[in-house]
């Protein structure tokens, strides 16, 4: 799919997203309680009125403290959930490195897990046939690929997952805190692969707690605080503003 330059790759317009607590594990009695006392629920606003646009070829970092809404923002972009209010437009094929290892099962071999994971990420039978060797080579797991996954170390498992993820050819790449994969040399290889994406003019959206990593990868950044978009612009500027606010907060809490 080709993207015209006028259309943004990702566009958020006045997006709100909230979660109701307690959610999840509901039995019949919980539902009945809820019906009898509808206001006893606590609403947690993960995103409040967030608007921004990312143009094709831009790379945007998302920074903020834990629970600021970064992951919610990424999950909305991949359409895993829907906003309460506002609209989201995504143009182009999205690959998310937050899907690392989705569907992995310890009793299956590395190769079997690779195929399932790749099929989940949208690979066709032909894609896999063409890219299988390449993916295995990238993961450096040739000798272990037919062993069950439970014999793998965590690092090996993440290497396999990462190798599948980066072999997708997306227009938009979403990266969530996955750059700490494997040993130093493998990390360097991952970064290099991501830089290739960037240089090829792909759009990127990255979350990491390492500002250094982000500053190496992205030109733009947005800063989220309790679901509000505080700043959005050149990364140096935004990181500076974020750092100032963090140091101020620590000063207040210390004083």
């Amino acid at each position: 799919m080709s993207i015209s330059d006028e259309r943004p790759a990702i566009l958020f317009h006045g997006v709100w997203k909230s979660f109701v607590r307690p959610a999840g594990q509901m039995l019949i009695r919980d539902r009945l309680k809820q019906m009898l006392r509808p206001h006893a629920q606590e609403v947690f606003h993960a995103l409040r009125e967030v608007s921004f646009s990312i143009h094709p070829g831009e790379s945007m970092a998302v920074i903020g403290h834990n629970g600021a809404g970064k992951s919610t923002l990424l999950n909305l972009t991949t359409k895993l959930c829907r906003p309460d209010r506002g609209s989201i437009e995504v143009n182009g094929r999205v690959a998310a490195l937050l899907e690392l290892g989705a569907g992995f099962h310890p009793d299956l071999t590395g190769a079997e897990n690779l195929r399932i994971n790749a099929a989940l990420m949208g690979f066709s039978r032909r894609n896999i046939r063409e890219k299988f060797a390449e993916i295995v080579a990238f993961s450096e797991l040739e000798d272990f690929i037919d062993e069950p996954l439970r014999t793998y170390s965590t690092g090996m498992m993440m290497r396999l997952a990462f190798s599948v993820a980066v072999s997708v050819d997306p227009d938009i790449l979403i990266i969530d805190e996955v750059l700490g994969v494997g040993d130093m040399s493998f990390q360097a290889k991952c970064l290099e692969r991501i830089m290739q994406f960037r240089n090829a003019g792909k759009t990127m959206l990255c979350v990491s707690h390492s500002n250094e990593t982000l500053m190496g990868l992205c030109d733009q950044a947005m800063w989220l605080d309790h679901g509000r978009l505080m700043e959005c612009g050149p990364i140096n500027h935004v990181v500076e503003a974020y750092k100032n606010s963090v140091s101020q907060q620590t000063m207040y809490s210390a004083g």
Binding site: F19, V20, A23, G24, Q25, M26, L27, I28, R31, N75, T78, K79, L80, C81, R82, R93, L98, E99, A102, G103, H105, D107, L108, E112, R115, I116, A119, L120, M121, G122, F123, S124, R125, N127, I128
Partner: protein, 255 residues
């Protein structure tokens, strides 16, 4: 929107289920046969030796004819019901169309079913011989798969919101085992209860199979059970798809 190869994904997910189930079993596929054979033995003992006035010829084959479609129905429905919650890792991380999860779970159980069908056909062939109506068997079993898939879509969506759904489904299956003519002939059901058997799709399924396999008669019979079963199956499937479609946008928040 998830763009990918549906068939390849479904194939991979079925293979995954199959491999996980059989890899750690020394007897492999034989386990699919052991369970129905034991049940067949026990039921035959009770209904021909304990209640020893049973006029049904070749009772073991008669029982198996009802038990195999029922067991598939029961296991596929229950595992389909919990499939979305069981696969939370997938549902929360990969934007694949959610319908794939319960449907694949039902289809994975078909592997079991095929093994058991070959056992059934072998026994029927030995005692009754084959007949031309056997060509209807794929249609009948196909309808059963459609029927269970529809139910699984319905109940898996409800189970996300109300977790005790699975226990309700399990109880329903226990009741159904006796309410479907598996261990007795529907001819002995008193007239005043006949209406219930007429509207029970599973009873229609078992009667149709017996008519084909044991009586060498066409599948449709005087009461048009096959047509009714086909109507019910496709209606349930359509209702299941629609309901699932309405419920799925908020799965993410409730898992």
């Amino acid at each position: 929107m998830w763009q990918g190869d549906y068939l390849y994904l479904i194939e991979n997910l079925i293979l995954k289920d199959f491999r996980i189930r059989y890899r750690n079993m020394s007897l492999g596929m034989l386990w699919s046969l052991v369970n129905p054979l034991i049940m067949m033995g026990v039921l035959t003992f009770v209904f021909t030796k304990v209640f020893d006035k049973n006029p049904i010829p070749h009772f073991p084959v008669f029982v198996l004819c009802g038990m195999i479609p029922f067991n598939f129905f029961s296991v596929a429905w229950i595992s389909g019901t919990t499939s979305i919650v069981d696969n939370a890792g997938l549902v929360k991380r990969v934007p694949v169309p959610r319908e794939i999860v319960p449907i694949t779970t039902v289809l994975a159980n078909c592997v079991h079913l095929l093994v058991q069908i070959s056992l059934l056909l072998t026994l029927v062939f030995y005692f009754y011989g084959s007949n031309r109506q056997w060509f209807w068997l794929p249609v009948v079993w196909g309808l059963e798969v459609v029927f269970v898939s529809g139910l699984a879509l319905l109940s898996s969506a409800i189970n996300v919101y109300i977790r005790d759904t699975r226990y309700i489904v399990e109880s329903a299956n226990t009741v159904l085992f006796w309410m479907v003519p598996i261990v007795y002939d529907s001819a002995i059901v008193p007239q005043k209860y006949r209406d219930f058997y007429e509207i029970n799709p599973l009873a229609a399924l078992v009667l149709t199979l017996r008519r084909i396999l044991l009586q060498a008669q066409g599948p449709d019979g005087p009461t048009h059970t096959l047509w009714k079963f086909a109507g019910v199956s496709f209606t349930v499937f359509a209702a299941g798809l629609l309901f699932f479609h309405l419920m799925k946008p908020r799965f993410y928040e409730h898992i």
